[in-house]
């Protein structure tokens, strides 16, 4: 039994336009030192998947920079390893059609060479908007045991305060875990199973799905494949019970990031010694706290210099926080420079933002104040 991975780096980009203007969903920074794709990639690597294709669409410069040759995930391999799959546009044929793929099925059609050549028995498909630390090997095992056509990873969620978007795919399951219905809105109350879009399918079946879709002009993986097939073929759900969150808006990026300050969430995501989350190594020095530093309930990366007060915040690599500054409930991305005497509350700064001395900025929990990349305030 061998498996290869395919990661969709751009799907859901439109959910969080503030942060995807110049990057893919996959390369949105998250949790002090990671990018969203690190979770999908690490989950695959930790389950011994060593051939991974990353399907890109646009804006993928930052993603390529992040991945490099893949060595930080141990995916710099002679055989297999990581492959970026850019949009397949030929010089002559596509001038009339002239467009990039628009949905998951078209993206798969563009990656058909990778799928045909990877030689694996199973293909694991993953998006980049879901944050979890999951043993994919167990999903594949269940896929084989249940004899399913497609296995979807589902997460049970309470509708109230759900981390999932209102339009998430909601699965109805029978007692054996077979999907009997798919809907595209969360119910009004109670709890439900949400599709994480992490799925396992045999390579042969995926090849058939792709050729069928080309023949019939199918457009949507969920509507034309899953919803249409679930009466005829067994679509199975693997119910994941660890921490799982889905980034679908800036507000929910903010609230999901803040969940990292809960001990049980950090334990679920990071504590397993066999399933570490890997990321690009930056070789920053350790973070230094001055005599005046006052830190409460915060997650902080390496390479920072902190001389002020930080509470309930997520601080990325290389951030400087000056004297007399108070940062509360905020997320400061890589290399943000905050001068002295500044007050920040519910603020998200993108990379390389500079906040000059004595500035006061505040958003609200449900409406964080976002400062774009490189802006000086």
């Amino acid at each position: 039994m061998t498996a290869a991975g395919l990661i969709f780096s751009n799907i859901h980009d439109q959910g969080i336009p503030e942060m995807t203007r110049r990057r893919t969903m996959a390369s949105i920074p998250f949790g002090c030192r990671y990018r969203l794709i690190d979770f999908a990639l690490s989950n695959m690597v930790n389950s011994d998947i060593s051939t991974v294709g990353v399907i890109t669409h646009y804006n993928y410069q930052s993603l390529m920079d992040h991945i490099g040759n893949g060595k930080d995930w141990d995916l710099a391999r002679r055989s297999g390893g990581i492959k970026i799959l850019p949009p397949y546009v030929t010089a002559y044929e596509n001038s009339a059609a002239g467009k990039l793929y628009e949905n998951r099925l078209e993206a798969l059609m563009g990656s058909v060479n990778f799928i045909n050549r990877c030689g694996a028995d199973y293909i694991v498909l993953s998006d980049c908007d879901v944050i979890m630390n999951i043993d994919i090997g167990a999903v594949i095992d269940e896929h084989i045991r249940s004899g399913a056509y497609i296995t979807l990873v589902a997460k049970k969620t309470e509708v109230k305060n759900s981390v999932f978007d209102q339009s998430a795919g909601v699965l109805t399951l029978d007692d054996a875990g077979r999907v009997t219905e798919v809907a595209y809105a969360l119910p009004k109350r109670g709890s439900c199973y949400v599709n994480t879009n992490l799925m396992v399918v045999s390579r042969a079946d995926l090849q058939n799905i792709i050729s069928d879709s080309i023949a019939h002009g199918y457009k949507s993986f969920s509507r034309d494949i899953i919803a249409k097939q679930l009466k005829k073929k067994p679509i199975h759900a693997y119910v994941f019970d660890g921490f799982c969150a889905c980034i679908s808006s800036l507000e929910n990026y903010f609230s999901t990031s803040m969940m990292l300050l809960q001990d049980n969430v950090r334990r679920d995501l990071f504590a397993s010694p066999d399933r570490k989350i890997f990321t690009k190594i930056r070789n920053s020095a350790p973070t230094k706290y001055s005599h005046e530093a006052n830190i409460k309930n915060s997650m902080i990366a390496d390479g920072c210099i902190i001389e002020g007060t930080v509470e309930n915040s997520i601080i990325f690599r290389g951030v400087h926080i000056g004297k007399g500054t108070v940062v509360k409930n905020s997320i400061l991305l890589q290399d943000t420079y905050v001068g002295s005497g500044v007050t920040l509350n519910c603020v998200i700064t993108d990379k390389n933002v500079v906040i000059k001395d004595e500035r006061m900025l505040s958003g609200y929990e449900t409406m964080p104040f976002f400062i774009g990349k490189g802006i000086m305030v």
């Binding site: 990071f270 070789n283 020095a285 350790p286």
Partner: protein
Amino acid sequence: MFKKKECVAMLLAGGQGSRLYALTQKTAKPSVSYGGKYRIIDFPLSNCINSGVDTVGVLTQYRPLLLNEYIGNGLPWDLDRTYGGVQILAPYQGQSGADWYKGTANAIWQNMEFINRYDAKYVLILSGDHIYKMDYAKMLDYHKQTEADCTIAVIDVPIEEASRFGIMSTNDDGSIYKFSEKPKNPDSTKASMGIYIFTKDKLQKYLEEDSLNPASSNDFGKNIIPNMLAAGERMMAYSFEGYWKDVGTIQSLWEANMDLLGANPELSLSEESWRIYSRHTAQPPQYISGDAVVENASITAGCEIYGTVKNSVLGAGVYVGKGAVVEDSVLMNGVSIGDNATVKYAILDENVSIGKKATVGESRACADGIAVVGAGISISDGQKINAGAMISEI
């Protein structure tokens, strides 16, 4: 075929570091942790790559397991190369018998073949005992400009400390006329940093002579340098200004760690243009809890702080429990401090575990020495370890 290299570095990493006692019971001195996420050997290796020296032989002998594993294929330092890169050179068995490295000079002599494979014109000799950032390319330029046979890097030390070092007496042009190892009455303050550049042919000649002399202790400082001086070879002193610290003793290792703290630290590791590289273990970011107090500290990935940390340097994955107090201490990778425990003026080696309410050391003002606990040792709940104690086995 081997691509020719102008300069090959040979890093002497076989030393036991016996003055570090408990910290080197299980590993060689160059692999002792420093500054949170580094090991001593990261400094010469990073200096090499930052200076454009991409071929490094690492000579190991004493307890090399951790060191070999740490260096691996050299990837963290960009020394995983098709031509050159880093290579571990352990003592080996030859046709005429097998030998341990008998001294620093003998270790290089046994590995002349490595140097000759790259047809190197110059050989840079380094040791794995010091914390410093230095551009070896400038030193090599100086060596070439002065047409020296041997260039020795020197640093100015206070005259009262000069008798602890190998002291060079120089002429105005920087050429050395006298070398005295640990002199009682030093006549110069230029101390050898243990960094040499030799022109290869001269090095080979003197190493060969030395190898034929059974009375020799096969040491650079004791034999090779004095012999070359006596023979009238051109020996130059290259003055280095900047931070340089021998971390061969418990006290100096502690001090070197403390030198990283403060607003204007004596040694800064955050300089973009001269990064110090190290091998990472994919730890999550550090978490400082709501009850924690963190003042004047250096903390790195994987740490979880629920107690108080002051004037201390913490390695990766350190856990400090609720109500625990850590002051004036160096905690290496994976140390765990139980709730309400107290650690003052101490060095705790990797994976040490301190039980709840235990105390290690005394406050720096009244302690008569640094308490040291060796790697992997567990101190049980409520136990007391005195100031200055050296715990290497329980």
